[in-house]
Symmetry: C2
Amino acid sequence: MKGITQVYTGNGKGKTTASLGLALRAAGHGLRVCMVQFLKRNPKCGEHLFAERTKAFEIFQFGAPPIPDGKIYVPIKRKSAQARESARRAFAFLEEIIRKGEYNLIILDEVNLALDYGFVKIDEVVELIENKPENLELVLTGRRAPKEIIEVADLITEMVEIKHPYKDGLGARRGIEY
Amino acid sequence: MKGITQVYTGNGKGKTTASLGLALRAAGHGLRVCMVQFLKRNPKCGEHLFAERTKAFEIFQFGAPPIPDGKIYVPIKRKSAQARESARRAFAFLEEIIRKGEYNLIILDEVNLALDYGFVKIDEVVELIENKPENLELVLTGRRAPKEIIEVADLITEMVEIKHPYKDGLGARRGIEY
């Protein structure tokens, strides 16, 4: 199968969630799938519990402090050398698993945000996409995808928030938002 | 947990896929999940193979002919009495499972399209949303969500197609698109 590069970006819901749906569907067909999470650290998310139990796909997290209570990823105002270093390790790990060729589908969760933070270089990711094995599908998620990534990727979807209840005071809910 | 009504609409990728991600995440936390598919009939989709194997959630399909080869749902130009009848049965089934209270999360896949086709009445779905049990989460997918649904739902995300390679001749791929 010819693999392409997909991007899910924008300020709306459903970016990571859509990539999880892709993981599930690909796993259903017996493809080997993993998700590499930039900036995130929360092993109690539903997707982790699910992946652990079913072994349908793997999730590798590379978040680092400071992540405030109740948040699952490094906020823009609290960038740290440690968070940057974790993102660097995530990228190196990614290069390694691509080289080894163990997966048919690799999700780079929140990589767009890591690019926006300046933790990962745009050129590096562009090169990764351009030189990926032909049968590998890449999925990049996160708001603020840089224009260089938009140019080089094949399928781009923007999630646009039309209406959001949390602004009315409903907090993030276990089992739904994480 | 307080359940809300989410809608994923728009012409972009990731509507059904995001709802599958929600299913996976909720199942990870031990919630009971099902997807009721309007207009669709393709038991060989990755999500069906996955649901069958893992028993993590259930999928009920209510598509009917004519569905052309290579398509997974009833196209707008080939509406039939049989397809309409299947959509009616899907809605009746939905009312029944909501009444029984067996699920925490129910996905109404492609219901927006069924509304657009006139197979299901907007008033009926609005009423379903307004009278749903408080602890039930509803997720509606499909392009062309009617404005009455947008008004009554809590969380609306529009998937916008920014770039799409199939227009360049790449067909739908097993394990990725279905």
